[in-house]
């Protein structure tokens, strides 16, 4: 690990803004995978997640001078990625190209443990998640896949804990309806 890897986000951001563009690679390495699962679950495939994370990182570089709190670069980058994921879902809906099983490199992981039933259930859950609203899906992904508390999600997204719970509880009911016969 080089010295640059030990630098704080603030130090790296300030170095990039001062003209040391190559330092941006530190932030790329630091955050490329952190939000990959979020993007993959929101968009339904690793390929789509790769595009989204790449776009978000490039856009963050473009807007770096507007990053008010470099110590909170991760949260700021997450908001950019989140906007990108929501926009992508809206674009696909407009084009009549909703997320589906064919997109789903992550939707039905190819398990080798022989638990066919488990795999089928997991695939059915992923299919059902695609039918939730983007907001419902997001809160489910962050809470039950990334293991975050409501308070943490609220801090990241700007929503209140009460509204997050409401979205989640509606998502539970919708998932129950969609997964009838699978559970």
């Amino acid at each position: 690990m080089g010295l640059a890897e030990l630098a704080t986000d603030r130090e790296v951001v300030q170095a990039v803004l001062a003209g040391d563009v190559e330092q941006y690679a530190v932030l790329v390495r630091r955050y490329r995978d952190r939000f990959a699962r979020y993007a993959a679950r929101m968009l339904g495939s690793v390929d789509a997640a790769e595009d989204a994370v790449q776009d978000a990182l490039v856009r963050a570089f473009d807007q770096l001078a507007q990053c008010r709190e470099p110590d909170k670069f991760a949260g700021w980058l997450f908001l950019i990625l989140r906007n990108r994921c929501f926009a992508e879902r809206r674009r696909r809906a407009r084009e009549g190209r909703p997320l589906n099983a064919q997109d789903d490199a992550v939707a039905a992981p190819d398990r080798t443990d022989g638990r066919v039933e488990q795999r089928e259930r997991s695939g059915a859950l992923e299919q059902a998640l695609q039918k939730l609203t983007a907001e419902q899906r997001e809160v489910f992904v962050l809470k039950h896949m990334d293991g975050m508390a409501y308070e943490e999600i609220a801090a990241m997204t700007g929503a209140t804990v009460a509204s997050l719970k409401m979205r989640m509880h509606r998502a539970y009911d919708r998932l129950r309806e969609l997964l009838k016969g699978h559970l």
Binding site: Q14, L17, V21, E22, Y24, A25, V28, R29, R32, D33, A36, R37, A40, V46, A49, E50, V53, Q54, L57, V58, F61, D62, Q63, A65, Q66, C67, R68, E69, P70, W76, L79, I80, N83, V106, P109, Q118, R121, S122, A124, L125, E126, K143, H144, M145, G147, Y150, G158, K165, M168, H169, Y172, D173, L175, R176, E177, L179, K180, L183
Partner: protein, 218 residues
């Protein structure tokens, strides 16, 4: 009709209750709900290594493009060193003239500040922008923006007695600058007297445009 989970079962799914906390008649529904979470795939997702190279290639392309460099030259603040060769009597005369001008300025009644609006003044070589915020309860106020890389410590405002008015004057290079006030080191406040623009991330920035002839809020 849609079959919904009982509110206690939803709290079970939220992790606020355990299965044993549920009344007996709800345990079957609770067990079914937990099977839903049991199939959630929590495996990490790794993106291919090529992502780093692609991002950095794009970053370099943008950073070194002539257009971007021209824009950065226009909007980035920079230090300017001014070297003068003068005769001593010119300095003395200049100082006397400046003192006279200052005395005239101080003798004029002060105009009341217009809320939080940025008051704009120009000098010969640079444009000074005066930032004003009415914040009677604040313990400290600063102004941060694109001109000081959003450094909340770079430009503190000074409280004007017990009026609740905070002011500072900052020399800004020609160009358009986004800014906001930082109250008590943590709370970001858009200039109430200047129209703001969305920063793209759900917050508002105020905007000031600086030209060689002066400056104005947008």
């Amino acid at each position: 009709m849609t079959e919904t989970y009982h509110p206690l079962v939803k709290r079970l799914l939220d992790g606020e209750l355990s299965l044993n906390d549920l009344p007996t008649e709800l345990r079957a529904e609770g067990a079914e709900a937990l099977r839903l979470l049991g199939v959630v795939d929590r495996a990490p997702v790794s993106l291919p290594a090529r992502l780093d190279a692609r991002v950095m290639a794009e970053v370099r392309r943008r950073a070194y493009s002539p257009l971007r460099r021209a824009w950065r030259r226009l909007v980035d603040p920079r230090d300017v060193e001014l070297r003068l060769r003068v005769r001593p009597w010119v300095v003395v005369g200049g100082a006397l003239a400046a003192a006279a001008a200052l005395a005239l300025l101080v003798a004029r009644p002060a105009a009341p500040p217009a809320g939080g609006r940025a008051v704009l003044m120009a000098s010969r070589d640079s444009v000074y922008v005066r930032f004003i915020l009415y914040a009677p309860d604040a313990r400290q106020v600063s102004v941060a923006g694109t001109f000081n890389r959003w450094d909340r410590d770079a430009a503190p405002l000074v409280r004007q007695g017990a009026t609740g008015i905070w002011t500072t004057t900052v020399a800004l290079p020609v160009g358009q600058h986004q800014y906001a006030f930082v109250v008590d080191g943590a709370r970001w406040v858009a200039d109430p007297a200047a129209p703001g623009i969305d920063d793209g991330f759900g917050r508002r920035n105020s905007v000031v445009a600086v030209t060689a002839q002066g400056a104005r809020t947008l």
